[in-house]
Amino acid sequence: MAGVSASARGSSAASPAPGAAFIFKKALISALVALVLFSLMIGVRTEAGSDGQLTYMTRFGDLAAMVATVFGGSIVVELLRQWWGPVGTIRIVPPSVQSGLALARRGIAPVLLVFTFLVPVIFYNERYILDLGILVLTYVMLGWGLNVVVGLAGLLDLGYVAFYAVGAYSYALLATNFGFSFWICLPLAGILAAFCGVLLGFPVLRLRGDYLAIVTLAFGEIIRLVIINWQSLTGGPNGVTGIPRPSFFGIPLTPGDDGLAARLGIEFSTTHRIVFLFYLILALALLTNWVTIRLRRLPIGRAWEALREDEVACRALGINTTTTKLTAFATGAMFGGLAGAFFATRQGFISPESFTFHESALVLAIVVLGGMGSQLGVALAALVMIGGFELFRGLEQFRMLVFGLAMVLLMIWRPRGLIGHRAPTVFLHHSQAISSDLVKEGHG
């Protein structure tokens, strides 16, 4: 099949570019389809009146504008496609540019890391940027955690938010009910989430890609519904309030005499806590990154990558796919749980609202955008996504529309990720000619 499509592509590239008439016809068809699609949904707006009776009004202006946009857009897309040439053309980049890009690629990670360390120093007085930084870092950590499951082990997990929720609720409930401190609860939250990961992992071991995705999605929804309905434990839709703030290893960040500021002999400021939270999530994220990089060099990491590339071959080579999948789930879930505990302590309030399917999809989109497996790619993708959402804050209602379209276009245009992608860590660099004494056919 691949051969057939490749040859078809080749012939279309050889033939002259279609003329204006063709483009016009295509745009006209698109516009007609758009007219039918949007006729009722956009051309008519329903509204419930004051007496509860549903009325409607027509919006033919909007409809015409939409159809015209589709017509124009279709022409532009077709022209762009001709200018860009057929998909799959190899573009020759001059070697000097290539080496420059390679240098930039190697340099970007340390530069980014140093910059991140300096953010609280540079933007000390800009509360907004610090808060945004904390948010981005939380998603970087979630992305890196999910990366273990999706990027390394190749298991599509649509319910990652469940572990995030488990982590957040374990900290919130342990802290508010038993008065445990953040530093005791953090590992506990991680362990509980990892336990949930194993719990989910056990039944889904036998499932393949798509089925696995749906089951994880169902699991995420079940966790959310249980949180909403188990009111006596979780407070239901009202959530948990008054979650204690973290302490600096036992020293509270309060204006009192025993607070950190008083002990250090400096003036108290609420910014201290924000800066502390910033470095806390940075440390957690870097821990995630470090553990992932180390694990990747261990046999278990190699097994994850082998599982991603080919499950059948993996089994044939004697790798225990059961433990491999379980460890991937547990590791990813643990990082999700740690991030959840951080989320709870940062917000001081959590409710089921924060743990919807959208959140899972967002983290998944970050991993996919980052190239599934590339650590740097995921970090940059989180920055782009969360930063992008902040930039277009005014267009809040179009957010999911743009997000969904971006996901579709990304899959069509660069299915292996926008920023980078991870090739297997170990592979044979060149095929070797082996003496015919060793192999029957001659070449090995």
């Binding site: 099949m1 499509s5 749906i214 089951v215 209602q397 069509i412």
Partner: protein, 305 residues
């Protein structure tokens, strides 16, 4: 006993709606091998289009209910089918030879697009309509005064489902298109070598699935008297559960699965707890996939290397 009989009727009606959606999932999975995640939202769009065309017809002064229903049904099926076609054309066809997770992710993106699109176009509030079909029959009146009722809406939902299912089974078993579909399901490369237009067949599969989802959307509107932009998500997952339970790829299986899911959900709500009815449906999905991945009427899947 009367209470149980009433719940049985309600469950079967709800199950018919799920079954209609499930057919779309099962057809697409059988042919393309992907979960059409946006199918639940196609169902939601179908409900909205039925609602809007109904409003317009009523405001034009049409009062004869059967004619209204017929026109609404045709309009909803037509426009929603075009939505199905467009979604396949934009989001799935370019990915046919991409890596294995790509169509799934693209489908999730499309689902967000459709949900948000109808939220922007029609607003986030629930859209209620006055009951269109009223009346019904009293089947049995118990000594304690509990009445088992079968309303006209319920009769219409069940009859429409049966007619459509018969029509559809005929389509797959007897027509040229149905033969092409079955050929593509077995081996796309071989089918294309033998002169089957694979692209067209896959498009038609999406079109038919979307048209059936539109019928389900209209039945939902008639039965519950309301639509909202978020109803596609949960209904979609439940219908997918139905498709899996019946054996994915099997048409009678999808209908059977739909009826079972409808019954389980209704009985669970009636005898245990309404709050946990979705949890029950999702748990069934997990349990079925673990212990019976081929479903009730499905064929065992052969793993090809």
């Amino acid at each position: 006993m009367d209470y149980f009989a009433q719940q049985l009727i309600n469950g079967l009606v709800l199950g018919s709606i799920y079954g209609l959606i499930a057919i779309g999932y099962t057809m697409v999975y059988g042919i393309v091998g992907m979960i059409n995640f946006a199918h639940g939202d196609i169902f939601m769009i179908g409900g909205f289009i039925a609602l809007i065309s109904f409003l317009i017809l009523v405001s034009f002064g049409l009062t004869f209910v059967p004619v209204i229903l017929l026109i609404v049904l045709l309009v909803a099926m037509l426009i929603t089918a075009l939505y199905g076609w467009t979604v396949e054309r934009i989001a799935y066809r370019p990915l046919r030879h991409s890596f294995r997770l790509a169509p799934m992710l693209s489908a999730i993106g499309m689902s967000f697009v459709l949900t948000n699109y109808s939220q922007i176009a029609q607003g986030a509030r629930v859209k209620p309509v006055p009951p269109i079909i009223t009346g019904g029959y009293t089947l049995h009146e118990g000594v304690d005064g509990f009445v088992v009722r079968l309303s006209n809406v319920q009769i219409i939902v069940v009859i429409t489902t049966i007619v459509l299912l018969a029509l559809f089974t005929w389509l797959v078993a007897r027509t040229r298109l149905g033969r092409d579909m079955r050929a593509c399901e077995q081996d796309q490369t071989m089918a294309s070598l033998l002169g089957v237009d694979v692209d067209r067949t896959i498009s038609m599969t999406f079109v038919i699935g979307a048209a059936l989802a539109a019928v389900a959307g209209m039945m939902y509107l008639l039965y519950y008297g309301q639509v909202d932009f978020f109803m596609g998500f949960v209904a979609g997952i439940k219908a997918f559960t139905a498709a899996v339970l019946g054996g994915i790829g099997s048409l009678p299986g999808a209908m059977l699965g739909g009826l079972l899911i409808g019954l389980i959900e209704t009985l669970w709500s009636a005898y245990f707890s309404v709050e946990y009815k979705d949890v029950a449906a999702f748990s069934i999905l997990i349990v079925v996939l673990i212990f019976m991945p081929t479903g009730l009427l499905g064929r065992p899947e052969v793993e090809k290397v």
